[in-house]
Every structure is written in C-alpha cells, then in structure tokens.
Amino acid sequence: MILTHGVGGRQDLPLPLEYVIAGAVLALLASFALLVVTTKRAAAGEVVGVRNARGWPVPRLGRVVDSPAWTALWRVVGMLIFAYFVLVAFAGSDNANNPIFGMTYVWLWVGLVPFSLVFGRVYKAISPARTIVAGLTWLRGTGSPPLRFPARLGYWPASLTLLAFAWMELVYPENNYLGPLRLWLAVYLAVMILGGALFGEEFLERCDPFEVYSSLMARLSVWGRTSGGNLVLRTPLGNLDTLRPAPGLVAVVSVLFGTIVYDSYRESPQWLQIVQNPEISGATAYLINNIALIALPLLVAGFYCAGTMMTGVGDVPRRALPAELAPSLVPIIAGYVVAHYLSYFWESGLATLRNASDPMGVGADWFGTADMPVSYFFAYHGTLLAVIKVTAVIVGHVLGVWSAHIRALQVLPKEHLVIGQVPLLITMVGFTVGGLYLLFAA
C-alpha cells in the first residue's frame, strides 16, 4: 500500500478564539509599550541598543570549538547521517515506513530550527556538501577557488532554493514517493558540491537552503563570533543585530515566512473549498497551489517593504530600509515555526525515529526504537499546547519589535522617532495577528 503522505497524520485542533484575541491584544500592548520605552530613552539622549554588543568572550570554549578535532567530529557525524540517507534512499521501501520522508521533512526541515536556536550554526557543522567540498579543495591543493561568488547576488539564490524545497514539501503531489524525493536531494547535493567547488565556501553560505535557514536562526542563539572570528556569548538580540543587510535578505525571510503561512492555510476548509471546487480541474488546482506558494512570500514581502519604507525619514534612503530591518522578521519566523510545528515535530519526529530503527521493513531494530510507541502528549494536553503556541508567537513578536526599534533608532532622525516607527509597528502587529488567525482558522 502506498500512503498519501510521507509523514504526519493527526493535526492540531485549531487555536481557541479567546487565545487568539488574548494573543493579539498582548502583541499590540507589548509593541506600544516597547515604542514608549525605547523612544523615551532615546529622547533622553541614552544610547538605545544592545547591552554589551561585542559579547562576552569565551576563549577556552572557543579553543575547543575551533580545534580541528571538533570540526572533524561534526563532519564525521554529518557524513554518517548522510550515509544513512543514501542507504534508505536506495535500499529503503517506497512507502510511508521509509524514514527518509520524516528525516527530510521533519528532522531536517523542522528540526534545524530548534537545534540552531540552541546550538548555533549546526547545519554548517554537519553539512555533507561542505565536507565533500572541503575534501575536493584539499585534493586540489592550495589556492583560491576558480571563480568568485558575485557579492551582489547576496542571498537571492537561497531564496530560490528555499522556495524549491517548500515547493517539494508543500505543493508537489508526489512528494511522498521515494523517487521524487531522492531526485530532489540528489540534485540539491550535486548543485551544492559543484557550486562549492567552483566558488568556494561562500557559495554554500549563500545558496544552500538548509545552511542559510540554520545560520539565520542561529542569529537568535547565544553563540556569536567577533569580526576577528573569536567565539563570544551574546544576548539573542545582540546576536541578531550582527546580521548585516545583504541583497536578497528580505527575499529569504519573506520566503520562509510566506511558505509557512501557505502551509498553515492550505489545509484550512476555506482553501480546500476553493481548490477542490468541482468546477476546477485537478490541473487548475495544482496551478493555483503553485501560484499561492509564490504569491504568499510576495505578499509578505510587499506588506513588509511598504511598512518599513513608510518608516524612513532620515538620511538612509527608503529603499535601504527593508534590508536594514530584515533581522526583525527572524524572531517572528522562529516563534511561528514553534507554534506551527511543535506537535508535528514531536509526533512525526518520534514516528520517524521508530521507522529509522527498521529502515528496510524487515523487522530489524538498529537503534532499539522500533517498538517505541509514539507519544501523543500534546494531543492530550490541548490547553498546554495552545498556551505554548500563543507564547511562542508573542515572544517572537516582542523580540522582533525590539530588534526593529534598535535598528530604527539607529537610522531615524530624532524628530521622527515616534511617528516614524508607527508604520513599522503596524506591519509587525499585522504579521503576528495574521499568524495567530491562521492558527485559529486552519
């Protein structure tokens, strides 16, 4: 039997309306409270910014983390995981019991967010593409890579590769079959290795969807680097503030946020009634889904750019503002990922661990987890889950607004501090309330 989805059966109940309202009110209050606090302090001549922006040095830990042995350890771990992927991709069965679906859509795609938030740039440390490229570089000997990665491309390629993954996960109807997923992963790896060999590591930093996503989320962790490359501890907001504007950064955060919004909306009854209308053919419905996947990031980007550009009244040109303030969307994305995927990560993640112990479906038990029952903790504790969801969205929102204020105060002239920030605030509240509404409506 071939199952219609690779992973995930049960979905969460919608968020109760009172939670949505409480969350929206809180977001609004917190936003204006922050506005009052920051502008008051800025008007009093205080420097509003991150405390200890340079970070607290941790030289001993830094020596361990930067040692060749530590780097090699995580590269070996990454290659072992990669070898397991290759094994199940070619020797595993083409049904939902193959752990490759959960490993790709749950462990990798969802899991890299919490791991990066806690440990920093994890994907960079274990990326098999990076290890293979490093091997090729070593074989070639010394010297810089044959081509230079054009700096003006910035993160634009990553916005496309991220969209390509989202398309595979959310739109492509046969994403739960082994062949297409294997092909996607193989093409991904081939492109990354080729690009890495030609352009050097910078290509992976700018184009690898998993590495870009992970490194972006790692800006909210406490692990930072000084400009000299030394390991420091920073507050999450201080770390986020080190994310400098680059071409395509707005595109990347818009794609991340827009595709999660699409993921929430595509299963809502309203959306299903539209795309499954008997008067619409299957091909048309597929086209609508494809358009929606592109339209929602564009909508997010449009809304965000309008809100931030209306803010600009200083020496900084308006067109530079969206990129300047783009870091403020990172905590909003992180909060929404937690809210949207927590129970899915728990249940499907555990189910994948169960399947991973017996990847060939022959009754093996490699990791001792083959008989592990899947815990439905969050399904039974609906109230707790709802509280966590609203809290995650609000915390993400508050961090985002705070980060935006810090940047806005750096770029806005004093006389426009309050009025100048209002459009920005409305944009952020709009995102948060919209996100809460989707958790309610889906």
């Binding site: 979905q11 009052v36 109230t383």
Partner: protein, 124 residues
C-alpha cells in the same frame, strides 16, 4: 529602566489573567468512550468530483465514525489516523467503519483516487 520593569509587570499580569481565564473549561474531558451513536458522514462520488470536498465534521472524542459512500465508480478512501487507514468502496453504496477516534486532533479523509480531501474530522 523602572519603566521597563513596570511594563513587564503589566504584561506578566495580563498573561496571568489570560491564562487563568482560558485554562478553565477548555481541557478535554476524559469520559469513558461512548460510541453508541457513531458519526455518519455521507459521501457522494460522481465522475471526477466528490461531495463534500473539504468540510469539517465535529466528532466527540471516543466516538466512532462511519462513512456512507455512494459512488459511480470503485475507488479508495484514505484516513490520516495513526495507524493510517485506507478502505475500498465499490459502485453503489458502501458503508465504511473507521472505528473510534480516541486522540483529539484533526484527521483528513482523502480520496486516494481523486487526490482530494473529502472531510476533515475534528475530534475533540
């Protein structure tokens, strides 16, 4: 700085009130299962279309669900429960019993043949 502390206190108080206010009466009651009256869902297949196509059906926890399928061609429905279930139906009327749903959540019932979501069972 004191202003910050005051604002944090206000926000914390609102959070507290909100969580207390919402914590009452929203938990799932763990009554003994009672499936004496199963929830019956009427499903009509004709050609490439299916009715309903995406509506929500509320199912109390512990109740079983039966699908009353009328079709002009044989096919298969698929339920995203754990374990996942699929059931075939033939031309004419077929009654499919899905058993009791004990875990709160939303479960999609799909037509495997058409690739469409027929109903979403909202178990709570």
């Amino acid at each position: 700085m004191r202003l910050t502390a005051r604002i944090i206190a206000v926000v914390a108080a609102i959070c507290g009130i909100a969580s207390v206010a919402t914590a009452c009466g929203n938990d799932v009651a763990t009554e003994p299962s009672n499936d004496s009256n199963p929830v019956v869902v009427q499903i009509n297949f004709s050609g490439d279309s299916v009715d309903p196509h995406g509506t929500k059906i509320e199912v109390p926890v512990g109740h079983s669900v039966e699908l009353d399928v009328t079709a002009d061609a044989a096919g298969e429905v698929h339920v995203h429960s754990d374990p996942e279930q699929s059931a075939a139906y033939g031309v004419g009327t077929t009654r499919i019993s899905l058993g009791a749903f004990e875990i709160p959540g939303q479960y999609e019932v799909e037509s495997h043949t058409l690739g469409k979501t027929i109903v979403t069972l909202e178990v709570q």
